[in-house]
């Protein structure tokens, strides 16, 4: 520092300060003038042509003081005025104070009420013993203005538009070697930002942050806290809303290593009441091909539905898990290495989830989920209830062996289904290239058809349902049955083969399969459907069944009395009427109107119906051809003989269904 003193006039002393500076700031063209020319009004003036602090450039700094104290040791002016000009900070005769100690070279400059970015700033600069500190007290500074200033200084503000205001204190400390510490205690109000696409936006934010950053060699260490108590943020696809009750508190201790482009988060503690609470440690390389090098996430507690709706659902939209009603709690740990999940250890408590469309659900699930990429784990799950479509399963416990991309049932599982049980002998799931595949082997012990049919919204059926459910496979959205599904109902056997369901949980599930029925008892069946009593047995098959959204689109079905059936063959008046009705209009009550009304039922030789459905049309047939038609019921030779003959060879499928529901239309069969 160069200080030259020269007496220009008796009444004036001028000190030319030449060039002053430390590592981070440079002052040029400075002068100190003390003027006694006005009697009783001495004036002290400090003038600086330019001051550069880092990249900041300030010109024409002028400090004037009329009441000052000039001693041998120091000059002290507590009530001066400051003017300065720069492209970011301007002052025109704002109140300011200055003190400079000639011996210790300690300088303190204070200026209040400077206009900065739409608000005010009070600055205090203090230099002593090689160190310096600048305190900036911000009042109602606009974020837009502040962002503009930062942009001018070459700081990336993320291409966002800012609203709202910020206030608080910002402190920078340094020495001859440069910046040593920056600290802040800032609050925002009505703050917000938005990018052009609207994918990153915030409104009405009330944030409070305090923290400090200090360089450590080539690195920076940042310790900070942030509390959001009002407002909302949309960071696609996550939306957060804050209130006094729904606040978010973060505190972080991190190290930024610019030379390595690496961010090391020693700890980030988060607390979002009702949603999630915990901490994490992470290593990030933002510009790397796997930005998340390391993550250790500790969830102390998480609550549903908060966690689901805030943090999980946005990523699950469009999947089967995209629309769930959830409740319950969980806690646990998750570890990620090089962008890949390495291990998971989660405890689920009283967790319930239900799909909005009611396709599946689970109730009061407790579990201990253990998974690691490198070692085998054992997970246990226990639930009080579960549902698939309208089938309600009961409470069960399951132990699962897990390994890298596989999950396997440790021991057979028994799940109550109505009054029966589903025995799952084997279940294996693996995930290859993000696609889950699973395999299931199960058996169903007898369940009353009444319960099943009621649950499915069918007419109440009697009998029982039981069967083998062998080798059910699911891969690439396709559910297939490896073996034969055997259902025992109505005293007969129903077998389903070649079952294949595409997208079973999708909008349009497509089912293909072949169904065969053997020796069904018609009496039980007709009683169940209140069709009118028919006695006898029935065989049949539905070949090439194809259903979309659980509605038949095509099949080739034929049902008839087995050729070797020697059981009693009787058909009631009402059943005959109903079969006639199936054929069409006008024949309702044909039997009950004729002399046959005196007979409650009739013997028959064979009965049967055939329908080949294609393009919405059912190509009809019966048990045998009749003259220009087909026999639906073939009577016994002995009188009273009753035949039901159908004539319509093609029937519209939807109207056939309507007729089945009691509506009559189209060509009628003839009773004779």
């Amino acid at each position: 520092m160069l200080v030259c003193a020269s007496a220009v006039a008796v009444e004036q002393i001028q000190l030319s300060l030449g060039t002053l500076g430390s590592g981070t700031w440079v002052l040029q063209g400075g002068s100190l003038t003390i003027d006694w020319s006005q009697p009783g009004q001495p004036a002290l003036m400090v003038q600086v042509a330019s001051l550069d602090v880092g990249a900041r450039h300030i010109e024409n700094i002028s400090f004037t003081c009329h009441a000052f104290d000039l001693g041998v040791q120091a000059v002290d002016c507590p009530h001066g005025q400051l003017s300065l000009r720069s492209d970011w900070l301007n002052a025109n005769a704002v109140p300011a104070a200055l003190r400079y100690d000639f011996v210790s070279r300690e300088l303190t400059v204070t200026a209040g009420g400077l206009a900065l970015a739409g608000g005010k700033v009070r600055l205090q600069f203090h230099q002593a013993g090689g160190g310096w500190q600048l305190d900036a007290d911000l009042v109602d500074v606009t974020l837009a203005g502040a962002a503009g200033l930062l942009q001018k200084a070459g700081v990336d503000t993320g291409g966002l538009e800012y609203q709202g205001r910020i206030g608080g204190r910002f402190t920078v400390q340094g020495n001859a070697g440069g910046l040593t510490r920056a600290s802040w205690q800032l609050n925002t109000r009505e703050a917000g930002y938005s990018n052009a696409e609207g994918t990153q936006a915030a409104e009405a934010l009330v944030l409070a942050s305090r923290g400090a950053a200090s360089p450590q060699g080539e690195h920076w260490r940042v310790q900070a806290s942030l509390a959001a108590t009002q407002g909302m943020v949309y960071a696609e696809p996550v939306y957060l809303e804050f209130s006094d009750k729904q606040h978010l508190d973060l505190s972080v201790d991190l190290r930024w290593m610019p030379t390595r482009g690496e961010l090391s988060v020693a700890s980030l503690v988060f607390d979002q009441p009702g949603v999630v609470k915990g901490s994490l440690a992470a290593g990030l390389v933002p510009a790397g091909d796997k930005p998340l090098r390391k993550l250790d996430l500790n969830i102390d507690a998480a609550w549903l539905p908060g966690l689901y709706s805030t943090w999980l659902q946005p990523w699950l939209a469009g999947t089967a898990l995209g629309k769930l009603d959830t409740e319950g709690r969980l806690h646990g740990r998750l570890a990620v290495r090089d962008g890949r999940v390495e291990s998971l250890d989660m405890q689920l408590e009283d967790l319930s989830a239900r799909d909005h469309d009611g396709q599946f659900g689970i109730g009061q699930l407790d579990g201990d989920v253990q998974w690691a990429r490198d070692t085998a784990g054992l997970s246990t799950l226990a639930w009080k209830s579960a549902s698939v479509y309208r089938l309600q399963f009961g409470a069960a416990k399951v132990a699962l062996e897990t390994s890298a991309d596989r999950l396997k049932l440790q021991s057979p599982l028994m799940v109550p289904l109505f009054d029966g049980e589903l025995h799952v002998d084997a279940f294996e799931l693996d995930v290859k290239a993000g696609q889950p595949r699973w395999l299931l082997d199960a058996m169903l012990t007898p369940v009353s058809m009444r319960a099943v049919s009621t649950a499915l919204g069918w007419p109440p059926l009697s009998g029982t349902l039981s069967g083998m459910i062998p080798r059910v496979r699911y891969a690439q959205g396709d559910l297939t049955l490896g073996g034969v599904l055997l259902v025992q109902a109505f005293d007969g056997d129903i077998t389903v083969r070649n079952l294949d369901i595409r997208q079973p949980l999708g909008l349009v599930p497509r089912l293909r399969g072949d169904v065969r029925i053997d020796n069904l008892d018609l009496k039980t069946l007709t009683e169940a459907f209140s069709f009118g009593r028919i006695e006898g047995r029935l065989d049949g098959q539905v070949k090439d069944l194809y259903m979309e959204a659980w509605k038949p689109v095509a099949f080739d079905a034929a049902f008839s009395t087995p050729p070797d059936d020697d059981s009693r063959h009787r058909i009631s008046q009402r059943a005959v009427d109903n079969i006639s009705n199936l054929g069409g209009a006008g024949m309702a009550g044909a039997v009950s109107r004729s002399f046959l009304r005196f007979l409650e039922d009739f013997p028959y030789q064979r009965l049967g119906i055939r329908c080949r459905l294609a393009n919405g049309v059912c190509h009809m047939g019966g048990v045998a051809p009749a003259q220009s038609g087909y026999y639906l019921v073939q009577g016994r030779w002995l009188p009273p003989r009753l035949d039901v003959i159908g004539y319509a060879s093609e029937v519209d499928w939807s109207s056939l269904l309507d007729r089945l529901k009691g509506i009559t239309a189209g060509a009628a069969p003839v009773v004779r």
Partner: protein, 204 residues
């Protein structure tokens, strides 16, 4: 000699068969009617007065786009081979899959309608919808409008595939999409936004 005759006959048959296959053209007029039925079902009472979109002309024009596929020499023969019933083919939309997709779209429409009306969601020129201006959507609704648009597009894509498949011509998907793209716009009420052929947004 005999074998040569057979092969030339076979060749001729194959040639004719190939021509006939080409001539099963996309029934544009019927597709337009089918699209209108579905679209009005979705829009419900919101449907505006439909307009005829000049870019969407039925049948014969689309054949003219493929002059090489139908050499004029064979014209008379083909008209004799292809029965009028086949040429005036109808478009089936009565399958459970199509009905399920329609029901899903109809149920979603009331949720999407305010965004169409405000212009934050518009109709694209490929028969889908798109978020035009996310900034016009309240912050708290941005997540759901994105999901609605994604779900709607999933249904629309499935619908076009499904109609083509239900009519036995999976290759018609592009034509069906094109028809729908025009009819979604034609049936929309005034004030909604749509993309013109060059991809620019316009207000109806």
């Amino acid at each position: 000699m005999i074998s040569i005759r057979i092969s030339s006959l076979l060749g001729m048959l194959m040639f004719l068969a190939a021509c006939v296959t080409i001539n099963v053209y996309f029934p544009a007029a019927a597709a337009e009617q089918a699209a209108d039925r579905i679209i009005r079902g979705v829009y419900g009472e919101e449907a505006g007065k439909p307009e005829t979109v000049p870019a969407q002309k039925p049948g014969p024009d689309s054949l003219l786009e493929l002059p090489a596929a139908r050499p004029p020499v064979l014209l008379g023969l083909l008209e004799w081979l292809v029965s009028p019933a086949q040429a005036a083919a109808d478009i089936t939309i009565q399958t459970p899959a199509i009905q399920t997709i329609r029901a899903s779209m109809e149920a979603r429409f009331p949720e999407l309608q305010p965004y169409y009306a405000s212009g934050s969601v518009g109709m694209t020129n490929n028969g889908l919808v798109e978020v035009r201006d996310l900034n016009a959507v309240a912050l708290r609704e941005r997540k759901s409008v994105k999901t609605l648009v994604a779900d709607e597009n999933r249904d629309r894509n499935a619908l076009y595939v499904e109609i083509a498949r239900a009519n036995g011509h999976p290759e018609w998907e592009a034509d069906i999409r094109k028809t729908f793209a025009a009819r979604w716009i034609a049936n929309a009420p005034a004030g909604w936004w749509y993309q013109n052929a060059s991809g620019q947004w316009q207000r109806k």
